[in-house]
């Protein structure tokens, strides 16, 4: 499904995935999904499946890489890790996100 159908604001899922991989190192899809859910502390109704199109998108852009490995229950699983250009992207995106949020906040405060 297209990202706008998920209940995660458009573009932010990519950012969250990149951030997760940066701080936790290589993870499989399940791990990433769990981590994002935990971080959101229940504020996010995420269909875990939605993570896969996002992972593919990031991979196509070269921001993350994947390799097959063994999961904690000894099953074959695909592990994702952030690449160098992914880190740079994350840095840029975080800054611009911060700026956007700050700007929106200012406007909201001024209006009220």
């Amino acid at each position: 499904m297209s990202p706008r159908d998920s209940e995660v604001p458009y573009g932010t899922l990519d950012l969250m995935v990149l951030r997760t991989l940066e701080s936790l190192g290589p993870l499989h899809g399940y791990g990433i999904a769990r981590r994002i859910e935990q971080a959101a502390r229940g504020a996010l109704a995420l269909n875990q499946g939605t993570i896969y199109p996002a992972l593919l998108r990031l991979q196509q852009k070269g921001w993350i890489a994947s390799a097959w490995g063994t999961s904690e229950n000894n099953r074959r699983a695909r592990f994702y890790s952030i690449t160098r250009s992914g880190r740079k992207q994350l840095e840029d995106e975080s800054k611009s996100w911060g700026r956007s949020v700050a700007m929106v906040n200012r406007i909201l405060e001024d209006e009220s």
């Binding site: 399940y30 999904a33 269909n47 499946g49 896969y52 199109p53 852009k61 999961s71 074959r76």
Partner: protein, 866 residues
Amino acid sequence: MTQLRVLLWRVLEPLLRRKRERELAEEIEAHLVLLTEEHLRRGLSLEAARAAARRDFGGVEKVKEAHRDLRGLPFTDTFHQDLRFAVRLLVKDRWLTAVAAAALALGIGASNTVFTFVNAAQLRGLPVDEPERVLAVHRMDTSGRPGGVSYTELETLRAEATTLEGIAGYQRSASTVTDEGLAPEQIRSLYVAANAFRLLRVVPSLGRDFLPEDDRLGATPVVILGESVFRIRYGGDRKVLGRTIRVNGVETNVIGVMPEGFQFDYFADLWQPLAAMPGLTTDKRDAPQLRAFGRLADGAELSEARAEIEGIDGRRDRERPESYRESRLTAAPFNGTISDNPIMPALLGSVGFLLLIACANVANLLLARGTHRAREIGIRTAIGATRYRILRQLVVESALLAGLAGVAGFGLSLLGVRLFSNAVADIAKPYWIHWSMDGRVFLFFAAVCVATGILFGLAPALHLSKTNMVSLKSGAAIGARRWTRGLLTVELALTLALLAGAGLMLRSFLTLYRLDDVVDTTNMTTMALRLPGAKYPAPRDWNVFFRRLEERLAGIPPISSATTASTFPYAGAAARKLVLDGADRSPSTVSYLTVGSRYFDTLGLRLVRGRDFTDIDGTAGQEAVVNELLVAAHFPTEDAIGKRIGLTEDTTAPSWFTIVGIAPDVRQRNLAGPDPTVYVPSRTNPQPFAMLLVRGAPGTEAVIPIVREEVRALDPELPLYGIMPMDQLLSQSRWPYRVFGVMLAAFASIALALSAIGLYAVVAHSVSQRVQEIGVRMALGAEARQVSWLVTRTTALPLFASLVLGLAAALGVGKLLQSMLVQTSPTDTTTLLAIVVLLLVVSSVACWVPARRATRLDPVAALRHE
């Protein structure tokens, strides 16, 4: 850079699809296992844990679909999937597929056939460089009929026109070729200006082209041969170049041979310089008897050339007689002048209609099937297919169906073109017209197939792709029914219009038959003779020759009657302006024939009043026989016998005749019926050319050798040519009505059949949809009549609406065909009434059959029907 990576990833999809698909499945599976284990740890049972895992994950198929969308190129990735599905569906519904493809194939086949003719007759044109820059120059009279130009006018245009690279006059003729050791032969020829071939950009394949000095009075006579004459008469011997042969009795030098297939302008096989035309540059300088063409100068446009020619012509008006000023010298594309016939647009229109009917029909079939497919589409939507995706699936199905129909239709059009070329094999058509397909036809064909696919696929696709689980439950059939009714109306209305066209043509054909009945053509043979000017220089010689021939032929047993004439029924005639004593009305045009003394007798034409020509008519007095139409037009209230009429050739002073007899009306110049006609004795206006009409024992074979023998006895060097039974000639003259009438009738019948199938399908579908309801109604005591009304009433409104629309369209069709109609009004009530009745009867039967089946349903079985 990032863009490129993405593209690369997507482009590789077809190669890696299997692997990527497998890995994704494995990844999702692993994810689900981990999720399930987590739920198990929370103390859920295995079943519950699995369900919870699936819930947390969301739709597996949905995720996979999104993944696939990202992976491949937007269209190709799922295309072959759509295709496979579409093939499977078409095979499954093979009856529906067959009916739909057959209907479309008929439409496509008919269109392609007709377009092949139109392309050959009107679009392809002269086989020369840039044929669209070759113009015909002619004098257009007030009624829009093109006529000839004079030598003087051509000289003026040649000197003054700057928009033309050059202009060339020409005149069709027939030349007698005689030389040592070969039989005399009559060959279709052309007197042509020396620059003509250069303007056409065609060079002789052997020898040389005409030079300006060949085209001067007193120049050494020269001739260029056609390839077929060179090959057949002279055995392809190059030594004929430079040799001297006798053309019309004149020693003439062979200077060149034209390339194979070149027969400009119509089917000439021999060309002589214009100056060799008897009397052209002297006493016939101002006779408007030449045809002419020019080529646009570089950078000049047709409109400029036309304006310039009209301007030059206007300046010369003062020097000419009054009657001349009504007409205009003008130019038109050469290609358009040959086959400017309303039948072509009419045929194109009718196959367009047919194609639309076929499309409407198939759209209806697909809509009907759509109600069965609604469940499938509803499910697809529910598991995540977008409307775009559904639409695409339906488009692929339509495209496949259109492709299938295209292949079949192409086969049909090959057959159609063959049938047509056989039907018109013996008509006289310009040499460059051959009924073959070329790139333009294939392009048209492809466009038709694509357009058809879109046309019939669009309505069902738009309608069906809106289906979702909600509309599925609440009966989306309403919208489909609206579409169905609309399509049915269009279909029936177009059918009515087509039937009207065919009906009017048929009626014209029958009228023509009746009109032609006045002449008894049984065992009648026609032939032609031309006396070469070198041997027969004076009109007296012509008279003597033909008189003697008539006398010789009169007494020989298998020949019961024979006559000479300038032309004969249905074969055209010269035109003259008619002037009346003391009348100040503007002159009208009449057909003009010079005939031998036994003309009416030989043809079996009984004069209505007055007397036939006698052997002495024309020697002293100036007698004429006119036809009834002329009498009705000019002497409606008085006795025409004894009245005087004058005839002029536009520029000449009228010669006066006294009417001695009135003949029945016979078609001459006008295909679509008789014109006012004047007959005068040959003696009055002798010509070196005559048609010979001979009636004899059954079979032409018996008569021809006798006539040949008699001609040879008079002059062994004279060839007899144009030998043809009159019956055949007559049927040739009617060929447009026969061939196009049959074509229109065939198209109309197909349309009617398609409409009947369409109606049948709609009613039958309505029955199958409402079996249960019908069962209930019948169980509650509904009568058969009520039940049939229940299922047929969907068709009542479209039928009524289509009668109104169709009759309006029929009037348009009649207007278009008007100039082809023979004494038939384009709003002919009988025809229109007949076709309305026909349509109603066929429609009723098509509705009645499935409706009757509904009334015979067993109520108990119907109630249980699911």
